[in-house]
Amino acid sequence: MPSKPLKLSPGTLYRGHEGMWSWVAHRITGVGIFFFLLVHVLDTALVRVSPEAYNEVIGTYKNPIVGLMEVGLVGAILFHAFNGIRLILVDFWAKGPRNQRKLMIGVGVVWVVLFVPFVIRHLTHVFGG
């Protein structure tokens, strides 16, 4: 279906608006986190092989590229967590749907408040401050 500019589709509350995009982002972050989790269980399982095997593999993660990927991962987890709480509130809280816009803003605010300190702390570790 061809996408129309927003002003030509005043009848829809959902399509092309923040509700739809948060659903898309929830799916994308969810899939990303799931595949990270598979790898994370496998790398942690190396503690059963030997201390050297575990330390060697974890050692390869301690570089700026993986450090920045971890920033992305935590950003995705924080979004998925608080967007998930938003949709629980929309589903179960009687006033949730009426306050959906405020809840959306709340997700953004909490995300920034938790993500910014994490980025500062983590990048300080990664870049050896």
């Binding site: 969810g30 899939v31 503690v47 924080l78 967590a81 709480i85 589903d91 702390r121 570790h125």
Partner: protein, 153 residues
Amino acid sequence: MTTPEIAQPRSSSRARSLKGGGRNRSGQTNFELYSWLFMRLSGLALVVLVLGHLFVNLMLGGGITALDFGFVAGKWANPLWQVWDLLMLWLAMLHGTNGLRTIINDYAEKDQTRFWLKSLLITASIVIVVLGTLVIFTFDPCLDPSSTLSVCK
């Protein structure tokens, strides 16, 4: 020319064709309802479990620079962290597997494709959950007798 067919809703097509025990009046199981509820309940628990995990491992102390075998050994010497990690493993894998199941149902068009993708998903999930559970329960930081870790003294 063939007339375009409108497919049945996928998530419950099998349930629709069956009747009987454990089903509601419309002939469907309540599986999708429980799955929907499970995503919300496990999601809430995971917010606490995962954010706690990230805070302790990446924010406190030396963060990522302090992660090594000794760090894991120190954490799992405490039963609280064993239970924490076990719960997190099981809930996150069930939550993630169910999420991917929904996505496969939504985007894979052919019955065969959905069957094989879901088979692969479930196989991978079982392997990861069993492996992770065994690692948490059979981990012994002091197998090496010359270990200098503080938990081994």
